[in-house]
């Protein structure tokens, strides 16, 4: 049983991974990720890439919604902004390490505009305001044909680094998870800065936060801008990963997907973003594979067995909301506690 963690200086306590056990876990995780393309199947690698992109986007929404308490239903559209920016600039020969930050910054600028109503409204009203922004942006994706390719979509050139084209899942995996690592660390650090604490203060009680000196206008717009920046970068990476995209991808369902990932993962936590994105992507896939096996065993019942995966997934989400509203992070922490206190019970 671990009885405590002892620090000799304040700096040790402030470290991001402040115990040897945590540092070991991070090292193991990094090692696993670095070697994954060498030992996984192509299918798992593709799934890992898709999950990585969703982690990036979920990290952003968790900062806006989980940390700052501002509901956004335009997150999927911000991904679209990033994706189309990368497509447009990529065709002009701009390298990916320039297009991705620009994609993020453009999405962030739009995030500021979309976030303006948050100064006057909150909760469900803010959700509706951001919903309007979603429809406005998706309208632009469909109609601004010269830039977005209109309803037929657009293609995105391969990302290249000093003449070497990043093609295939093997190369894209390192691009995606390199960004996931950097941006997850950035999100974690942000929560420990003045800005991150201001987000939480605004979320918990904005009037009190203002009395304490938090500037509401700046803080709320920062929350939207930073969340949208993450979405923009995720959208850019999505474009590089698929190579072509149509506006249908950036539907309202995508925004709801990220909202569900934030809620099931755990509000206001980087680990929650990761677990939520993994849960929302991998669990339906796992259930689909099981349903597929069932359908193969009973071909005559395929039309009944195959949708069962979705039914079970829906029940799982409801189960989480009812029995563990703090999300998968809380489940993970409970498991951690069991190990820490073993052989005693929590």
């Amino acid at each position: 049983m671990r009885t405590g963690v002892f620090y000799e200086q304040y700096l040790s306590e402030e470290r991001m991974w402040n115990t040897p056990v945590k540092r070991w876990w991070v090292a193991v995780l990094v090692l696993l990720l670095l070697t994954l393309p060498f030992w996984s199947t192509k299918y798992l690698l593709a799934m890992a890439c898709i999950i990585g992109i969703h982690i990036l986007a979920t990290l952003g929404l968790n900062l806006t919604t989980g940390n700052a308490g501002l509901i956004s239903l335009s997150h999927g559209a911000f991904l679209g902004v990033g994706c189309y920016t990368v497509a447009y600039l990529g065709k002009m020969g701009v390298p990916f390490f320039v297009t991705l930050p620009i994609a993020g910054l453009l999405a962030a600028a739009l995030g500021v505009v979309v976030g303006l109503p948050s100064l006057r409204v909150k909760g469900i009203y803010l959700a509706i305001a951001t919903l309007a922004a979603h429809f406005l942006l998706t309208f632009v994706f469909r109609e601004w044909g010269s830039v977005t390719g209109g309803i037929q979509g657009t293609s995105i050139p391969k990302a290249s680094l000093f003449g070497y084209a990043l093609s295939g899942d093997f190369d894209n995996f390192y691009l995606i998870y390199g960004l996931v690592f950097l941006m997850a660390v950035a999100a974690r650090n942000l929560a420990r800065t003045y800005i991150g604490r201001a987000f939480i203060a605004v979320r918990d009680r904005d009037i009190s936060a203002e009395i304490l000196g938090v500037h509401l206008l700046t803080t709320k717009l920062q929350a939207f801008a930073i969340g949208a920046f993450y979405a923009g970068v995720a959208g850019g990476v999505l474009g590089y990963f698929y190579g072509a995209i149509t506006p249908e991808y950036f539907s309202l369902n995508l925004s709801i997907f990220y909202l569900a990932a934030v809620i099931t993962g755990g509000l206001g936590s980087v680990l929650g973003s990761v677990l939520g994105a993994v849960f929302m992507t991998f669990v339906p896939e796992l259930l689909r594979l099981l349903a597929n096996l069932g359908a193969q065993s009973f071909p005559g019942l395929a039309s009944i067995v195959l949708p069962m995966g979705q039914v079970v997934f829906g029940l799982l989400i409801i189960g989480f909301l009812v029995f563990e509203p703090h999300g998968l992070t809380a489940v993970w922490r409970r498991i951690q506690r069991v190990f820490h206190l073993w052989p005693f019970k929590t």
């Binding site: 199947t41 192509k42 299918y43 690698l45 593709a46 799934m47 898709i50 469909r142 309803i151 037929q152 979509g153 293609s155 391969k158 093609s167 295939g168 899942d169 698929y242 190579g243 072509a244 995209i245 149509t246 249908e248 991808y249 992507t281 339906p284 896939e285 689909r288 349903a291 597929n292 359908a295 395929a302 039309s303 195959l306 949708p307 995966g309 979705q310």
Partner: protein, 400 residues
Amino acid sequence: MKQVSRRQVVQGLGAAAISPLLMQHGAALAQSGDIVIGAAQPVTGVFAFAGLQMHYGLMDYVDWRNGKGGVQGRKLRYVMEDSGFKVDQGVAIFKKIMAAEKPSFFYCDGTPLVKAITRDAVDSKHVMTSSTSLASAVADASTTPQHFVPGATYGRLHEVLMEHVAKTWKGAEKPRIAYVYTEAEFGIDGIPAGKARAAKLGLPIVAEVITKPGGVGVDVSTEVAKLRRARPNIVIFQGYINAPMPEFARQMKEAGMDVDIYGTAWGLDKPAFDGLANVGENLTGVSLYAVSDEDVPMLREMRQHQAKVRSGTTYLSPFYISGWFSGMVFAEIADRCLKDKKALTLDNMKAALESIKNWDTGGVIGLPVDLSRHEVLAGRVIRYNPAKKSMEPAGEWISV
């Protein structure tokens, strides 16, 4: 340090020398087994009604063809997984099947998936794709060289429709035409080509109504008022499977409008013609394929096969026929390659596809088919027969 013996060096060099031969042998083995057709079908989700039919169509064709001895003595093998009409899921399925089965053909659930997998499919150099999509964007061999559309694109269908109207309209004046379509690709794609052909034929387009995708939340009464002012003789619906067509038809009737209602392709399936029949309208439209109970050889085979494996089902949905027809094209491509003793590489299969001209499809399409442009350039107008409660031919096959 471990010493390496001369024997081990010789063995190593020998293995290195024969490895290319072994690899060639491996490639030869890959060329001699089953011909795999992978598929990501939307068996669940918003397009489940279509996905299940496309799945049955393609699966039944593979069964039927294998019953006839396969392709040049090789069996077809169909590997399908449910995509739920989600791009991420479809891409994962594509990558999974590509890695595990090395398919020669892959069937996608729609335009977004075709676009998302094109780069990987082309890079693989061993897979040709098709899908339910009739979008012109995926019939472009310069951007999607591995893909073909199993029928006419939306643009071609609208051109056929305009040609039919120009030829068969009996009124003294040219018919006034109105368009009602969704703002999704499914709705918009064919409209410019239809309008261009109408202009060429001197057919006036008097109104255009654009609705939200799926026709959800359409204020029908406002749109009908707009149509009433335009006084059309024909209203062409594009991009709807059923709603809001019956509601439009009912309100147009109540407003005293005497119009013919037209549709295309998937908008001519049972939900559409039944829905319109319920409000007393007989749907007309341009079809990709022969109709369900038409007496042509390949549809007879479909009906017999369906009766054998799915007794009680008599109706052949256009989605089912599309799945079956895609299988026919896959098999024809493989057949042409194997006859010429060519491996099933993308280059060879693309050349085989483009060599398909004057192809007899057993009546699935009533004209000799030309697939050299990765799409079929023909269609035919069909009309609802209230006595039979089914669609029947209303004109000749038209090539555009």
